[in-house]
């Protein structure tokens, strides 16, 4: 069997047992990348072949003396290209950072590196993670491995496509309003957004700092737990990172039932606008959760319909402030031939940013400007409180919430590019958990008639990733969606 088809857990098992070497793994993946990457375009930057083989050899040589491995040793990973990697360019899918080579590693990357993984490359994303399809990447869109006419989702579309197409065994993504969960759903893989504060944001290029969170995109729920174990934890370099006890998340993925768990079905997540195929598959999944011993209870979260408006004010306001740093002075793109500093700022930003980023910077600037601040930004912050309170109240009654990830399966490339609002509306089910900082996972729960994946979302209380993982695992084990893999056509 080809090594690239294995899950992280399986690959790790064979490697630890000494059945395969790191060089075997590297060769298998390099071959795979050669075959499918030209079609899928999951990566912006690939690590040079020789570097990967050299790293693999170093691992193998070190192991000859004593066979002691760490969970990610020799494991081929993809990293979203808004997470800083020392010495490997980090572009954010933007002309602004096209040649930016970070002088340091993000904390999560540092944590990965202590395991000696094989970092295969940096994956594609919408520019500065703003988007739902990767079409806003200045390097061009990635393709959905299940059907190349369709989007892989976004903004972590490159990471999700890479995992689905076996172009890495697992990947890191980032999620501000759904960017881990939605592409995972589009590509039929698992994506976990941890609780805000669970994973350090240090070295993650900031989009909306009160929402951004890094998390795993993997083939299985177990693999997500393995990766979360490595990246989670307190970091003195991130003042919002939580100083909490860390459970061993892999312990959560052992039991195959969910007896005693009460699972809420929020009515508002099944109303108008939800595609019938998606609705059917999610209903089937809820049935399975019930058969596994869960108690299903209908609940209501009335402010759900306000979430998109709230998010697109808060996220753009924060983005307009965060992206003020791109001024052509210290790093990144600088426009040529400006007469003075002010002109250099404007030309640099006008040439360096793409249209979606400009749109958001302007919307955010407007929402924060004199005369509008209270009506827009202030109002959105108040509604955010209401959304959070509703979650708090519901979580007194239930342990988890279940819903679709996206109102439809993946849409076609180009379909929503000219209508920004239409693109924003596809985030309706993922944004509320982001606004409240809750952990949420996307697991595959079926295929549409034309063969596109559909995702199931499970949301939990703050810092209860273990419970989210446990239910997702039980569901995954009770169904066989994870066995279905895309066939990549030429």
């Amino acid at each position: 069997m080809s090594l690239f088809k294995l899950t992280l857990k399986e690959l790790q098992g064979k490697f630890t047992a000494g059945e395969i070497s790191a060089v075997d793994i590297a060769r298998s993946y390099l071959l795979r990348l050669n075959q499918v990457e030209p079609k899928i375009k999951a990566y912006i930057t690939l690590t040079p072949k020789e570097t990967i083989l050299q790293q693999a050899k170093t691992i193998d040589d070190g192991l000859k003396a004593w066979r002691k491995t760490q969970p990610l040793m020799g494991m081929p990973l993809g990293i979203k290209d808004n997470i800083c990697t020392e010495g490997i360019r980090t572009t954010c899918g933007s002309r602004m950072l096209e040649n930016f080579v970070p002088p340091y590693d993000a904390t999560v990357v540092g944590s990965l590196r202590t395991h000696q993984p094989l970092i295969l490359g940096k994956t594609n994303l919408d520019e500065f993670a703003m988007g739902s399809s990767t079409e806003h990447s200045v390097f061009g869109p990635s393709r959905n491995p299940w059907n190349q006419k369709f989007i892989p989702g976004g903004s972590s579309g490159g990471s999700a496509a890479a995992v689905a197409a076996d172009e890495c065994v697992a990947a890191l993504g980032s999620d501000t309003g759904g960017s881990i969960r939605q592409p995972a759903a589009c590509c039929g893989v698992v994506g976990l957004k941890p609780t805000y504060g669970r994973v350090s944001r240090f070295g993650l290029v900031a989009f909306a700092s009160s929402l951004d969170q890094i998390g795993p995109i993997t083939k299985t729920v177990t693999d997500a737990a393995i990766l979360l174990n490595v990246i989670a934890g307190f970091d003195p370099m991130d003042a919002t990172s939580a100083n909490r006890e860390l459970p061993d998340f892999t312990k959560a993925v052992k039991k195959k039932d969910i007896k005693k768990l009460i699972i809420g079905v929020p009515r508002e997540y099944f109303s108008e606008g939800l595609d019938t195929e998606v609705s059917e598959k999610v209903q089937d999944a809820i049935q399975v959760l019930q058969e596994l011993g869960g108690t299903i209870r209908e609940v209501t979260l009335p402010s759900t319909e306000r979430a998109i408006a709230t998010y697109y004010l808060i996220a753009t306001a924060e983005a307009s402030s965060n992206l003020a740093r791109y001024d052509g002075v210290r790093y990144g793109f600088r426009a040529k031939e400006s007469r003075d500093l002010a002109e250099m700022y404007r030309s640099t930003r006008s040439q360096g940013f793409g249209p979606e980023v400009k749109r958001r910077i302007m919307l955010g600037t407007y929402a924060l400007s004199a005369g509008y601040y209270e009506a827009y930004y202030g109002k959105a912050q108040a509604v955010r409180t209401l959304i959070q309170r509703e979650f708090d109240a519901v979580f007194q009654e239930v342990d988890l919430l279940v819903s679709p990830v996206m109102p439809t399966p993946a849409f076609q490339l180009g379909e929503r590019l000219d209508d920004p609002l239409q693109m924003y509306l596809s985030d309706i089910y993922t944004i509320p958990a982001s606004l409240s900082g809750l952990p949420a996972i996307s697991v595959p729960c079926g295929l549409s008639k034309i063969g596109l994946p559909i995702g199931l979302q499970l949301m939990g209380r703050p810092f209860e990733e273990a419970m989210v993982l446990r239910a997702a695992y039980a569901y995954e084990q009770a169904t066989d969606w994870r066995m279905k893999r895309p066939v990549i056509r030429s």
Partner: protein, 97 residues
């Protein structure tokens, strides 16, 4: 409330240090209007006395010990600079010529 004029769009672009092309002005005005009329729904939500949420950090921020530690060496900090000289970042004239 929504409806942002092309003039206002130009003003906002200037605040954000962006120059818009003639083609971009009506396009952004149009799209921003579309989005603003959507987000205007929030005006109908009653939020009197509701506190504002700026962060969902579930705990008090933890401050780092304020003690000296290693920082980026100058060469590394300057490595990505578009232009540098003698350990400094170089920028165009500030006041123009």
């Amino acid at each position: 409330m929504a409806s942002i004029t092309q003039k206002e769009v130009e003003h906002v672009a200037q605040l954000a240090r962006l120059d818009l092309t003639e083609a971009e002005k009506p396009m952004f005005a149009d799209q921003l209007n579309h989005i603003l009329s959507y987000v205007d729904q929030l005006q109908g939500v009653s939020t009197e006395g509701v506190p504002l949420t700026a962060s969902v950090a579930h705990e008090e921020p933890v401050l780092r010990e304020d003690s000296p530690r290693e920082c980026l060496p100058v060469e590394k900090a300057l490595a990505n600079a578009p232009e540098s000289h003698n350990g400094f970042f170089v920028v165009p004239n500030i006041l123009g010529k």
